[in-house]
Symmetry: C2
Subunit: 346 residues, 2 copies
Amino acid sequence: MKRAHKPSGIDRRALVSGLALLPFATPVQAQPTPSDPLASWNDGAARRAILDFVRATTDRASPQFVPEEDRIATFDQDGTLWVEHPMYTQVVYCLDRVPAVVAQKPDLKKIEPFKTVLSGSREAIAKLSLHDLERILVATLTGMTVDTFAAEAAHWLATAKHPRWDRLYTELAYRPMLEVLNCLRDNGYRTYIVTGGGQDFVRVYSRRVYGIPPEQVVGTAGGTKFAYDKDDKPYLIKEPKLLLNDDKAGKPEGIHLMIGRRPHAAFGNSTGDREMLEYTGSGEGARLMMLVLHDDAQREYAYGPARGLPDTKVGAFTPELDAEAKKKGWTVISMKNDWKRIFSFD
Amino acid sequence: MKRAHKPSGIDRRALVSGLALLPFATPVQAQPTPSDPLASWNDGAARRAILDFVRATTDRASPQFVPEEDRIATFDQDGTLWVEHPMYTQVVYCLDRVPAVVAQKPDLKKIEPFKTVLSGSREAIAKLSLHDLERILVATLTGMTVDTFAAEAAHWLATAKHPRWDRLYTELAYRPMLEVLNCLRDNGYRTYIVTGGGQDFVRVYSRRVYGIPPEQVVGTAGGTKFAYDKDDKPYLIKEPKLLLNDDKAGKPEGIHLMIGRRPHAAFGNSTGDREMLEYTGSGEGARLMMLVLHDDAQREYAYGPARGLPDTKVGAFTPELDAEAKKKGWTVISMKNDWKRIFSFD
């Protein structure tokens, strides 16, 4: 793994300036909507499925009309709204945070998996077990107040860059999907992110990048603990206690917990999204289920393992998922064929 | 406990008709807002605190202006938005559901605490332990699909009546608080319920009664389990697994989980709301913290035990809470003095 960004210990001032940067960074989604709401989409089945769904559910004369208060659309994030390769952005964040954590607790320096992360060896880091990764997540995502975490994440997001494009991670949102988000919102839909990633992490940038406020981000969530500081001021500290594992079956469960009803549209790209699409599709009336297929090695990445695409560790569009999509009428979006452009900076 | 409503076994058709009734029941909050947004409030410190807060946070020229996207207000429900005496409405619901549960599982008929509930003895029911009550909650609130639960609760709400007023429970929302909800929403605030009551229960009627959509109800929440029926259709079943105990310290923790940021206004009426008000008050800029004091035995109920009011089992406005309110500048709402009317039907 090539790292474009090497953080050192972060002081309070840097954190505050990191946060301060955020609202003024170029908003990815703020370009005025052109007369064609899906301008970055080639004409085809995917584009037509979106427009047909919007028409069917928002035209009062349609038998499939959905009242505005029930218009809910859910979107997976990694691989659906932004790049997930070569590694989930949040995992990169956690690895990048290790030096700061070790600076606070020097004993960790000689202990695995921290020793391996500090070595910077791409090969060794890639071989870390799931258990090792969990230890890194706990060390870098819990034990601090929710405000400190948000400031640390904001600071990192304002500076860390993706090695391939040398761009901020927040610039790597897919332009065509931002158009879908805007198009649905313009038609009365409330758009939600439903991600296996950390809820608190995604909430730091969701409004700026996707136009989605924090309360509309459903993600893997840990508990917090309410406590008082020495001046009797209350705070919330992030606990290493999993409340919601928002992946696979956890996605519909998280949707019920956080939204309380079945979406009318759901977008994903991997087996982690299967249950969310099944749940969405099992409702009555018009429903839109879509899967992004990463078949564009030139402009982004190509991985499956469906349709002869390579099998990778991150993201899994399997032949079984492909078959289920075909059987149930879910629409597969080919990045290569359906998208005129990938990013807003293209 | 006098029960105004005696449910028997509920069949599917009754459930569906119960649900169907809901959208057409008289909406409590739908009267047009008069020129005075707080028409049911007497002039006084409480009314002025609300109006001053709204002005300070929504006037662009104000140094305490809050951008619309950050305008969050949270409301406890029982005793703050509607009547909680002589028993929390949801507890009445659970007791009323016992006969239907026993009809499904006849073995329970001879087992405590179900035997006592079926006896109908007010005295015996009042003496049930917290452990007994938990067994009743588990038996009546879990083990069914989320859709079945919503239909059962909707059916009950469409028929069960409060013994004192002989009115549907959903008619017992406080008119002055409905005006506060509307006033805040009219000024760009997103209003949330943050209740120790069951999230799934309150969501059944929150939109109709309070104008609050399901996703803006944060409550005590159990887990659900995603599964498939024999036709491979997915469903969610309510599990006896507590995810969030949304009371006391659980309220700010629930707010972080579900909303992701600190409210600017918070309303409660008991020690269960203390931490929510402390958390809200610890933010910068203008903050509004209010507590409803039940000091009106004639029009509603009188209980404390603050200010010499009687100590009751349900709801606790203690002298300590009263002292903290005074010290921190929280505003106490006297039902007797601050409210011209209590209910919309008055």
